[in-house]
Subunit: 200 residues, 2 copies
DNA sequence: TTAGCTTTTTGGAACGGGTACGGTTTTGGA
DNA sequence: TCCAAAACCGTACCCGTTCCAAAAAGCTAA
């Protein structure tokens, strides 16, 4: 009889969103370090424990949608068309990420991140996890020859490309330049006999 | 009457060393997170404020000599023989670093680091600073063509090589493998004139 | 030796992020 | 209508870190 669609989930998502919105607003108004967790919780009208049941840390409040980015690179590998080469697919995805960060109305947020050492470090640790996830996806892909070391290296190179591009004067050109290098590295890594080569 | 040599410096160094030794001992005995700052200070017989006047953070207690490593890579660039190619010099240095970490009696310390997420993150942030320092040295070297983006990228690739090697089953082989890729990337980066290039 | 300056150390209080815990309300479903 | 799970609440607490005023110790020179 009753509508089966979860109201709980909706309310929970709403609470989470309210916390994130309040936090970002306060951070932009007063600065990241000038705002305490208890300030955010009070302003969002939730308990501190509730806040931490939705976000693992203060930094995570800023990277609200970090988990999505977390997996876009990985999906660029797993979901790419059969036979499509790896590096261009990754390059396209990094281009999209950089465009998203440097372009639209998200500029104040990224300025906030650039100003705070804690947030910058957090972003780096996110990228490291991303690299590990990407490396796992690459290693598992049978089209890529399964050289674990080369895959891990390229995965980290890709996150480095993102970092370097974000700091560069011309981010889009920097992406192309670094990916040109990654392409060469990847070719060299494929050819390298390394130690143990089971295929290709 | 007494020798006028700087006793203050000696005592300060001794205090620092005593804190570091005590900390490492306690961490190895009971585990990193099971030991608090106040425990270390009490056991070393100093005030907490004294401890923090010698070390910037709890993690820094473990990487006591971290600042030395911090600059070895940079010096491998600035101090290399005139005309000596860049990448082999870096490769040699990374080999030395990896050997130092995986080889001798320092094994328990590195095990400690591998077990603690906080220490692993701290090591990563150290490497990031190292990459920035290395990139600055490379960009400043007139022999390298001064392509800032390529230099920054290779600097991060080099630290990635270290990370990948430390996690690999055969670290020394992994260093060679990743550096083979870096060599190719560097060559590609040199040839690329810079900004305005093909866009797909 | 004493006096005066600087550096180091001290202890305790306090701050801020994060957690443990035990209790209350809300929700979905039987 | 009743129950169990999930979400939320408040508080006290832990721990790394910093602040502060003051004591201790090293240095320099009269």
């Amino acid at each position: 009889m009753t509508v089966p669609t979860g109201r709980r989930e909706r309310k929970k998502a709403a609470t989470r969103q309210k916390i994130a919105d309040t936090a970002l607003r306060l951070f932009l108004e007063r600065g990241y370090e000038a705002v305490g967790i208890r300030d955010v919780a009070a302003e969002a009208d939730v308990a501190v424990t509730t806040l931490f049941s939705h976000f693992a840390s203060k930094e995570a409040l800023v990277f609200e949608r970090g988990d999505e980015f977390q997996q876009r690179l990985t999906r660029a590998v797993t979901d790419r068309a059969p036979g499509e080469p790896l590096v261009p697919a990754l390059r396209r995805e990094v281009h999209a990420l950089v465009r998203h960060c440097t372009g639209d109305g998200a500029a104040p947020t990224w300025h906030l991140i650039d100003e705070s050492p804690a947030l910058r470090e957090y972003e780096q640790s996110m990228m490291l996890r991303q690299a590990e996830s990407l490396a796992a996806a690459m290693t598992a892909d049978p089209d890529l020859g399964g050289n674990a070391t080369a895959c891990r290296a390229v995965a980290r190179f890709v996150t480095a490309a993102y970092s370097v591009a974000r700091e560069a004067a011309d981010p889009r050109a920097a992406v192309d330049e670094v990916f040109h290098m990654i392409e060469a590295a990847w070719e060299a890594g494929r050819r390298a006999p390394g130690e143990e080569l089971s295929r290709a």
